[in-house]
């Protein structure tokens, strides 16, 4: 019963997110609204972590498999895709890695500056 209750809470939040995404025309999907709702409820203390934890961790743990059906859809648009496959591959690989490098280095640099400042304050 415990797991069923957890599932019920998670699905209810999904449902709430779905309603929001239908009524707010910003193109933000149900999952993002739902994530904000769940976080807010946990933060406010109205939802206890142990009431979603096990089923939630299970779902997060098996997330990879959930992307498979949509990706296999490549066999349906293969004609269009394969025409410029190299172009797409170059854009995908280059952009993903450049974004990873820039955002990672920027975050690390700012983190270090802040840390140094924090230490400076401690000494003063």
């Amino acid at each position: 019963m415990r797991h069923l209750k957890q599932l019920l809470i998670i699905l209810s939040i999904s449902f709430a997110g779905e309603i929001l995404s239908q009524y707010i025309p910003l193109g933000i999907p149900a999952s993002i609204y739902g994530m904000v709702i769940m976080f807010t409820l946990l933060y406010a203390g109205s939802l206890k972590l142990e009431n979603v934890k096990e089923v939630g961790d299970f779902l997060v743990g098996i997330m990879g498999i959930m992307f498979v059906p949509a990706t296999v859809g490549i066999i349906d648009c293969w004609d269009v895709f394969s025409k410029s496959i190299w172009l797409y591959l170059i854009v995908i690989v280059v952009t993903t890695i450049v974004v990873m490098v820039v955002s990672g280095l920027v975050t690390q640099a700012i983190g270090r500056i802040e840390k140094r400042r924090g230490e400076g304050r401690d000494e003063a």
């Binding site: 994530m35 990879g64 498999i65 059906p69 066999i75 920027v106």
Partner: protein
């Protein structure tokens, strides 16, 4: 060879997806090479299986819809690691936000530069534009702006897989060792699929990466709205 019994089965689609995924996971553990990625292997084997048996994608899609259906609840549950690591997020708030913003801007400029270099048309450009953000938002953006939606989905997922596969090397080579910075790098460049790898690296990496899915997604929506109003 067309297999008649597949047409009458409601289980084969999930069985083949799961079996190839588990097989991919076994290969990953055995060889410890990043290319041995369960998602990648599952997609490849399932596609080959569909083509070899002459099955329709539409039928596979209908029968495997449970897996896609779970994606929204699972994404919502990323709020759990987020909440558990709240103190780390608060302490590094500025670095995380600026890091994500720099990544979103870089993604924009990088795709624009490559589009100009390869002289892509508008529809190809908007098809590629949402590639680093989560599938659900990205598909909406592509659709609203006249992109090719199914290709956007594939491009987004492939970006996720590239991030998932390449992140350990890239982060190591560039000496990005801070867990918060690793999380931002992975989440901003490769959304939920990358986040799966970030969660393997550690709790902080996973939580930061989960946060990036939301923030980078919303920043991209705002940026596209801005660009559209200006142009």
């Amino acid at each position: 060879m067309k297999l008649e019994f597949l047409a009458n089965s409601i289980y084969w689609a999930i069985v083949i997806s799961l079996a190839s995924y588990v097989f991919g996971d076994v290969l990953k553990r055995k060889f410890k090479i990043a290319v041995m990625n369960p998602i990648l292997i599952s997609v490849a084997l399932t596609s080959v299986f569909l083509l070899a048996t002459g099955s329709d994608y539409s039928q596979y899609k209908a029968n495997s819809s449970l897996l896609s259906w779970l994606l929204t609840p699972a994404t919502i549950c990323l709020a759990i690691p987020l909440y558990e690591q709240l103190s780390v997020l608060k302490k590094n708030g500025l670095a995380i936000i600026v890091g994500i913003a720099s990544g979103v801007l870089t993604s924009f400029l990088c795709i624009l530069a490559l589009a100009l270099l390869f002289s892509l048309g508008h529809s190809e450009y908007v098809t590629l534009l949402p590639k680093s953000i989560t599938t659900a938002i990205g598909i909406g953006l592509s659709e609203q702006n006249g992109g090719h939606v199914s290709i956007t989905a594939v491009v987004i997922i492939m970006s996720g897989i590239v991030g998932n596969v390449a992140s350990p090397f890239v982060l190591k080579i560039l000496k990005i060792t801070d867990p918060v910075a690793k999380g931002v790098a992975i989440g901003t460049s490769s959304h939920a699929i990358g986040t799966a790898k970030a969660l393997e690296m550690g709790k902080v990496e996973g939580a930061v990466s989960s946060l990036c899915i939301v923030v980078a997604g919303i920043m991209t929506v705002i940026k596209v709205l801005l660009v559209r109003t200006i142009i």
